[in-house]
Structures are given as C-alpha cells and as structure tokens.
Symmetry: C2
Subunit: 209 residues, 2 copies
C-alpha cells in the first residue's frame, strides 16, 4: 500500500504523462512529465522504472476504449455499421492521442494486456469483416491486412495541428469507409500488404520510443 502523498504523486504523474503524451507524442522527455506533475525525476522513476511502463499505464485507458469500440462493433447486428464505428472510433482515438498507435504497437511484452487485446481485437475485426463481406457491404477484395494499413496511415492524423484533428479524423474515416464500401464502380485493387508480425513490429522502424 502506498503512502497517501506517494499515491497522489503517482496520480499526478500519470495525469501529466497522459496529457503530454497525447499532445506531443511519446518522445516527451521524462523530466518534462515530472516537471509538469510537480515532482522530481527520482519520484517518477521509482513508480515507473522505465518509460515503457509509464507509457503502458498512461494509455491503458485508451486500450480499454479501443477494445470496447471493437467489441461493440463486433456485437452489432449490422456488420457494416460495426465496421464504420470501428474505423470512426480508431480514427478519433488516433486524432486525440498523438502516438497512441505507437504505444499500442510497441507495448512491452510484459504488458500482457496489450498483446492479448491486440490479438483479440484482430480476431473480432476479422470476423466483422467476414460478416460485412457476406452481407455485401464490404468490398470482397478487402483483407484484414488492409485494416492494419488503414490504422497505420491513420497515425498521420495525430500529427495534425490540434484545432483540425477531429475534423481531419472524421473526414479521413468517411473517405476511408467510402473506399472500403462495396460499390459497382470499384476498381480492382493491387495486391494487399501481407502484414506479418515481423512487418507489424517494424512499422515505424520500431523506434518510436
């Protein structure tokens, strides 16, 4: 059990980390977070021995939110509506949290939740895609890897200036969904990216941290 002052400091650090990470990305100096929290560096390091640990905890909320979005979409009886809310929701999170995808992708192996969530979410999304295709709403040549592709390029949204991020996210997801929608005028696509785990791990050079 933490002493009361220690607990409060820990909370303040997490708050500062959340706001700084989502505003400036993952490469904020640790000291800056400590300063914002009104705490010395040592205090921060004692609670979060490594930057990765801090990141994991700072983004835990968003990971939960992510999973929630996907689960709801998966449970939706209309698979296309599900797809839409997934794409919209992830774009929104991307826009509001600079570096969230990076955090999500580079989550440390011991943050078991992350890996489990990732796998789980991908499974649900895959099923969603299958159902949406079967319903004739999703273009038949769409593959799960395309979803990753969309997610990865969506990272660019978080780089948009704060005042246009939400607009950009909404516009982006609407355009993306139009691309994904089954449509009579749809052209044949070039071959999809095969997103193996290795490919995924190396997206972004694996060095956002």
């Amino acid at each position: 059990m933490l002493r009361s002052d220690a607990q409060e400091n820990r909370d303040r650090v997490l708050d500062a980390a959340r706001s700084l990470f989502s505003e400036h990305g993952l490469d904020v100096p640790i000291r800056e977070i400590a300063r914002r929290a009104g705490v010395g560096p040592a205090t921060l390091y004692r609670r979060f021995p490594t930057k990765q640990a801090l990141i994991d905890l700072a983004f835990a909320r968003e990971v939960k939110q992510c999973r929630e979005i996907v689960r709801n979409a998966w449970a939706d009886e209309d698979p296309w509506r599900g797809m839409c809310s997934v794409v919209n929701g992830l774009a929104e999170i991307n826009a509001q949290n600079q570096g969230f995808v990076d955090a999500f992708m580079t989550a440390s192996p011991d943050a078991i939740d992350f890996a489990a969530h990732r796998a789980d979410m991908l499974r649900m999304i895959a099923e969603l895609c299958r159902r949406a295709k079967h319903a004739g709403a999703l273009r038949p040549d769409f593959v799960l890897d395309d979803f990753i592709l969309v997610l990865m390029v969506g990272r660019g949204l978080s780089a948009a200036p704060p005042d246009v991020r939400r607009t950009a996210a909404r516009r982006f997801s609407a355009l993306t969904l139009d691309a994904l929608r089954a449509s009579p005028t749809t052209a044949t696509l070039p071959p999809p990216v095969r997103v193996t785990p290795a490919v995924l791990a190396n997206w972004g050079g694996g060095r956002p941290i």
Copy 2:
C-alpha cells in the same frame, strides 16, 4: 569553383544524405552521414552550414520529380487519369523516401524553390480537381484540402518496413482513389479540413527536424 577533391566529397556527402534520409528519415545524425560519406564532420558542415540546407539539397531531386508528376498529370487530357497518376506518384515517393513530406513541408524559407513548387503544384492540382469534377469522375464534395489530408496521412507509408513499402503504397493509393472517385453509392462527407498555411505549417508539430 571547388577544388576537385572538395567537389567529390560534396557529392559523396549528398549521396550519403540521400540514402540515409530516405532509409531512416530526417533524424539521422549528421555524423552518421559524414561517416557514410567517408569525410569528417567539419567537411560536411563547411559545405552545408546547417542540417536544413543539407536536407533541402538532398531532396531537391524528389521535389523536381514531384513537380514533374503534377505537371504531367495537369497536362493529361483525361483529368481523372491525371489525378490517379498524382496520387500514385506521390504515394510512391512517400514510400521510397522516409521523411520526404516532412522535408517538403519544413523546407527553409530561403530554399525558394520549395515554396514556389508547393504553390505551383497546388495550383495545378486545384485545376486538375476542377476538371475531374467537371468530367464527373471526381466526387463533387472533394476539396483541395482533402488532397493535403491524403498527402499528410500518406506520410505513414514511409514508416512501413522497407519490404512492404511499395505494396503498401500501391494498395493505399488504389484505396484512396476509390474513395475519391465519384460513385452512386458515395455517402455524404463530414466537413473538410480547412488547410490554412498555419495549419499546414503545424502539421507534424513543425518539428521533424
């Protein structure tokens, strides 16, 4: 006039910079470039007093290529084919040159070419869009700012691992074009991003360098 050895060193530095920048992005250490070129840091700094100057020159070729792509597209009698080649071409450049868009956007004010090229290209693209819309090929609610949006999220392509970049670029541009194509099933879009110069300058936090 440069002495012959100096000239050769300068060329080697530029070559090294090009290959390192496109492979690892703009945050390659200057020393690394010097090392790769087989010269001392001082030599590099004498020819290119600031990192920005080096970046400007290293990417000059791609800027030219960019302009060329747009000019050809602009000259194309079929505006939609023009749009396609622009989107394809830019995605390709993005995929092959990590950090190219960053370089393009953050080009120093004195690298006049950049600003001029940007403005010029945007003008041509705007006209292309108008013609494509008029021909009924481009969705009517598309605005020029959407083009910037696509360009900006396309940055994410350069972060893909080298072995999938071209595939990713091709797939991405094909999907994007499907989103831009006028189509009977197209949904109404949310409001577009208003990409003012300030917005543009702040995209990416203005700090890729």
